[in-house]
Amino acid sequence: MTKTKEVLKKNTMLIALAVVMVLFQVLISIAGKGSLFAPANITNLILQNSYVVILAVGMLMCILTGGNIDLSVGSIVALVGAIAGVMIVSNKMNVYLTILVCLVLGTLIGAWQGFWIAYVRIPAFIVTLAGMMLWRGVALIVLNGLTISPFPQEYLRYFSSFLPGDASNKGLILSVTLIVGAVLCAVYLAVQLIGRAKKLRKGYDVESQGMLWGRIVLICAVVMALSYLLGSNKGIPVVLILLGVIILAYSYYTQNTVPGRYLYAMGGNEKAAKLSGINTNRTLFFAYTNMGFLSAVAALVCIARFNSAAPSAGTNYEMDAIGACYIGGASAYGGTGTVSGAVIGAIFMGVLNNGMSILGIDANWQKVVKGIVLLAAVVFDVVSKKHSSKS
């Protein structure tokens, strides 16, 4: 009984996400406006939220260090996008060079802010609020207040195309996506079983067979369903692959590496972390430098999606990213939260947006609902923690 409860408690947000998806599906069907799970809509959902997911992953690192947030990411997205626009569109410069320059620029901006936050210990809120104004201003100056478009195909194919490229052959697309899905499932299965065998060989505790297979079947089913839906539309968005790589890399970083553990230690109790020999300044500096880097990645995705570089790009993106982390179970005081949680939080927000849009709910009311959901998620988190610490 307690095992089931534990599993439920660990996956509260995942269950909430499933419930919300089903709820919207029912509402949308009743309203006769199609389906949330329509292949085109699923593709759309991924493209719409790709930048939030990338930013949420970076924001999680910052939040983990002690509830610090980064308000400047939206402005960095605008600035990096503006530079890319000027380089590629206005000056016809090399695409690869531009991508490299943009990533370095984002990292440098992150390092600049990280320096003040980590080594001079100016509160992150203030430094990034300043950055929010500063980088937005620079973006406006670079673009002279104008929007640059369109981007050449040479650039777009790296961020907004689909695999396989041949869009005319429906059968080919579906079979390729299904094969990719099956390969992924096989890899997952293999990783799980090998890990289990290794544990058994060393005589460590392992989870029960039922739990293991339950999880494998569930995840493979979701992957195959997604493959089918994508295959029925245009194929696998290149952005999805990028997202997959980022999510996997950062999950591994936070869960399985020493510097990743430092993030949690610092956020949980900075004094104790320091007295354990952890250089907390370096940890904090890394979190913000990395945020700058991921902002640049998000910027590259954004300009491809909108096929333009605009000075107003990225407005309020920081709020979406912060909201995603908190909905995904990150503590506002730092020290707890996972990459997968932040991703689920981002998808949750995306589904809310998407579902309400399909239902034709007024944009103003959408904001009201999102605000309430964010507060409810954090209240739930805080109250349940209080409850568990009492028992």
């Binding site: 020493v258 104790a272 020999g277 020290g335 610490s389």
Partner: protein, 512 residues
């Protein structure tokens, strides 16, 4: 016959696992200065917290009778309304507000939510004159010294129409002159008819001002000495404070003491904030392999600061002196350096400085030496679980699994996790700061066994403790520290509660 202003009858207060007060009785006569004395942790402050309503009515057993009526205080406000004001050892002043604003904080002059600043500052100036503090009430608190801040606290109490003033260690952070001034002020108030309760470790001061002295030991009242009737000499008071039977609360150990493993010479540390204030002053000490060395002293003697400044300069500024580990002089610039030199500091404040409460036992155990469970910065989680379980077994930590959050453990088990964390770091020299603070007797015994095991393996242990019986029961040698200086070094044979106490008391105020 003067009136009894306050009577506390059969007060019993329980904390989880600890009986902090056990049937305590206290009688205070109107217009007297009544001193409460006892060792650290004897229950003096707890008793005063019960009186002032910090522990609300119903949280304790027994009756408080004040001016002939039974009182049921639920908050500090309730007791203050009756004229009972407590001034804590840690001053409760807001540094960036003025003296005047601080004095009327929570007791603002004016009405209907509007503060009358003219009245506030006029009244403040008047009260400051009464306590003999010549400062403008517009001065910021941060700009005046601790001695003057103490006077502001008293003026603040006067603003509340105080009838019974409680001072908890008022002179702990004051120098000789300021202390004298404060004590004389108390005598002056007494002449005006105010009643005072003073908690103090400085027995010379107690004999100077007090009309009656109540001795508290292990949460129980032992005796009340009356001026003019009983002998109020320091020796007499100390006998009351420490006169307890030592039972077999400490595991036996055959000391096998080797060569010197760490030596500190002429160690001086300055306060990180206050210029020119020495927290440690020319400290010399050493520890040998297989030896448990105690550092005894009162709170605020500079013991923790000494330990932390040695531990990679984690505390203080302008640290000077020589640190020799295994015969070689070393300079530890960071905690990582200290850990690399096989030094460990187990903090007194396990929740604040020691553990990550929001993380699991597993994660806490490996935190200070993660290279042992990782290759190229990548964690081997299976190995991590294995070592966490090993330490859990070794220290007999009670938990559901090593995946349990440390914040959900009891104090004793948290302490074991903290010890496990530092044992995992493979130190040769461990500095244990108050290793048994706030944990029950059974867990204490287990911690003592662990300490014995550590020295049996040839490690050196420096144990900082405020509990004299623990020092006497565990240590092969004891340094006594007071006001940042080592004021005595006693062998096991020389150590007794009396000898340690008199080292402290004889040194008090001499070198300031």
């Amino acid at each position: 016959m003067a009136n009894i202003i306050l009577e506390m009858k059969h007060i019993t207060k329980l904390f989880p696992g600890v009986r902090a007060l056990d049937d305590v009785n206290l009688q205070v006569t109107e217009g007297e200065i009544h001193a409460l004395v006892g060792e650290n942790g004897a229950g003096k402050s707890t008793l005063m917290n019960v009186l002032s309503g910090i522990y609300p009515y119903g949280d304790y057993e027994g009756d408080i009778i004040y001016k002939g009526e039974l009182c049921k205080f639920h908050t500090i406000k309730d007791s203050e309304a009756k004229g009972i004001v407590i001034i804590h050892q840690e001053l409760a002043l807001v540094p960036y507000l003025t003296i005047g604003e601080n004095m009327f904080l929570g007791n603002e002059r004016g009405n209907k939510g509007k503060i009358d600043w003219d009245e506030t500052f006029n009244k403040a100036d008047e009260l400051l004159r009464m306590v003999g503090l010549h400062e403008s009430s517009h001065t910021l608190i941060k700009d005046i010294g601790v001695g003057k801040q103490q006077l502001v606290e008293i003026a603040k109490a006067l603003a509340k129409n105080v009838k019974l003033l409680i001072l908890d260690e008022p002179t702990a952070s004051l120098n000789e002159t300021d202390s004298k001034k404060l004590l004389d002020l108390m005598l002056e108030f007494k002449a005006q008819g105010m009643t005072c309760i003073i908690i103090s470790h400085k027995l010379s001061e107690v004999s100077y001002v007090a009309d009656k002295i109540t001795v508290i030991r292990d949460g129980a009242t032992i005796e009340t000495l009356v001026k003019g009737v009983d002998d109020l000499s320091e020796e007499r008071i100390i006998r009351g404070m420490v006169g307890r039977e030592l039972t077999d609360r400490f595991p036996k150990r055959e000391p096998k003491i080797g060569e010197i493993s760490m030596e500190v010479r002429d160690w001086t540390v300055y306060h990180p904030l206050y210029d020119g204030r020495k927290v440690c002053d020319g400290v010399n000490l050493n520890v040998r392999r297989g030896e448990v060395v105690g550092v005894s002293g009162l709170m605020g003697a500079g013991r923790t600061e000494l330990a932390m400044s040695i531990f990679g300069g984690s505390y203080g500024r302008g640290i000077s002196g020589t640190l020799i580990i295994n015969g070689r002089e070393v300079h530890l610039h960071s905690v990582q350096d200290a850990i690399d030199h096989k030094l460990a500091y187990v903090t007194e404040d396990r929740k604040g400085n020691g553990l990550i409460l929001s993380s699991t036992i597993r994660e806490n155990t490996t935190l200070s030496r993660m290279e042992k469970i990782s290759h190229h910065k990548t964690l081997d989680k299976d190995l991590e679980i294995q070592v966490a379980n090993e330490y859990k077994e070794k220290l007999r930590t009670k938990c559901s699994s090593v995946e349990q959050l440390v914040g959900n453990l009891s104090g004793g088990n948290q302490q074991k996790v903290l010890l496990a964390k530092w044992m995992f770091a493979d130190p040769d020299i461990l500095i244990l700061d108050e290793p048994t603070r706030g944990i029950d007797v059974g867990a204490k015994y287990e911690i003592y066994c662990i300490i014995n095991q550590l020295v049996a393996e040839g490690k050196s242990v420096i144990m900082i403790s405020s509990e004299l019986p623990e020092i006497l029961g565990m240590c092969d040698r004891t340094y006594v520290m007071n006001e940042g200086r080592i004021v005595g070094e006693l062998t096991r044979e020389e150590s007794s509660q009396e000898s340690i106490m008199s080292c402290i008391l004889q040194s008090a105020g001499k070198g300031a």
